[in-house]
Amino acid sequence: MKRKALAIFLIVFGCGSVSTAVFAHHGASRWDTDAWGTITGTVKEFDWQNPHPLLLLDVKNDKGDVETWAVEFHPPNVMSRGVGWNHSTFKPGDQVTIYGHPEKKSVPIVNGMKSLRPVKVTMPGGQVVTVDPPGY
């Protein structure tokens, strides 16, 4: 991938209007729902599994180092009915942008991977999909 990876923008807004927290498996209190962040990177792996599909995304940080982010979505059946995703929605090498809520600063980083609770996803084809709420 010669394409220069985009930087990470973590923009903190004072508003907290989103109340559709679901991701309870890994603790709803993990996320800073007052804050918004965007990551763009290359798909390393996509695991279509219950209870949460897991997307590993290689993202370049502002120092130019690649960091792997772990992004989890609503359960497979919800994503399937809501937005028509399946196990081959993302393939290694795809370019993806995720817009969502970052973790609270107080939450320890798990397995060395940062995370984001996704709200909108810019797909490899360029279309923007709202994944929270997931449409049904």
Partner: protein, 288 residues
């Protein structure tokens, strides 16, 4: 071929054509005249109400319906139940979930949801009506509930189970389901309300309109609650849906299989895909 022969043949065939047309007409009308003749599917007789179909709670602007059987006020709890509810944070989490989901038997230990929790969950369920049973197939955990409709009672000295023992009967258009024999290891609902093995659930399920099912549940559990209390849940018909596979803790299963790959899958001729990393729960409780 001359015209005379053709005309003669047509005349000769006329009674046959008329009979065929009559038969087609009769076959077309027959199902309307006698609905029981249409019974290609193994459904209940026409005289019993039809609740078959795939149902799930509707989505609201705030998310799915409540997860909480008592969203307005706490149910009338015994002291121990109130203490546990305070610790769990019954209904105080997002969308009426428990606040401390690390105490959820499903999330911590992959325990089944069980009854009655499954009746108040986002996952769809399908109702099938047989001759002696009504079946509920739940997508969540791919659980199955059988409701005996043949007039039997509850057995003596039931073994506690996650789905319990359910018997039912019709009161007009309402399916009345009586369930006991439930394990105290399950939660009553996703809000985290507790229950004991003495829980007795009576459900009154009826079709409010073609697309809407209403379930009024009465919980009688004197070990946990000071008096019986009720809750009403609405489900919407999902005519275009089908039930999907739903394996609890599939992520943990895949991690376990990955660790045992060499033992479980010898002679595997092609590389197997497993998730690269387990994502354990962060220590949110101790985070400031």
């Amino acid at each position: 071929m001359n015209e005379g022969v053709c005309r003669m043949k047509w005349f000769a065939l006329r009674p046959v054509l008329a009979a065929a047309a009559g038969l087609v007409l009769l076959l077309g009308l027959l199902p309307r005249l006698a609905p029981e003749l249409r019974a290609a599917r193994p459904q209940a007789p026409a005289s019993t109400p039809d609740l078959t179909g795939i149902w799930s709670p509707p989505r609201t602007p705030k998310g799915f319906l409540p997860y909480n059987f008592s969203p307005e006020a706490p149910p009338p709890m015994q002291l121990w139940a109130a203490k546990r509810c305070e610790l769990v944070g019954c209904g105080t989490g997002p969308l009426g979930r428990a606040n401390d989901d690390n105490m959820d038997p499903y999330l911590t230990s992959c325990a089944p949801y069980g009854i009655p929790r499954l009746m108040n969950h986002v996952g769809p369920f399908e109702i099938l009506q047989g001759k002696n049973r009504v079946l509920m197939l739940f997508e969540t955990g791919n659980a199955m509930r059988q409701i005996w409709m043949d007039g039997r009672g509850h057995p003596e000295d039931l073994d506690p189970s996650w789905m319990g023992h359910a018997i039912g009967h019709w009161e007009g258009a309402t399916l009345v389901v009586d369930t006991i024999g439930l394990t105290d290891k399950s939660w009553l609902d996703t809000a985290g309300h507790p229950h004991s093995d003495a829980l007795h659930v009576v459900e009154r399920i009826r079709r409010v309109d073609h697309d809407t099912l209403e379930n009024t549940l009465t919980f009688d559990d004197p070990k946990t609650y000071t008096k019986p209390w009720t809750s009403t849940i609405i489900y919407k018909l999902r005519p275009d849906w089908s039930l999907k596979e739903d394996i609890a803790c599939e992520d943990k299963i895949l991690m376990d299989l990955k660790a045992k790959k060499a033992k479980v899958y010898p002679f595997q001729p092609y590389p197997m895909n497993f998730p690269v990393e387990a994502i354990p729960l962060p220590d949110v409780a101790n985070a400031k």
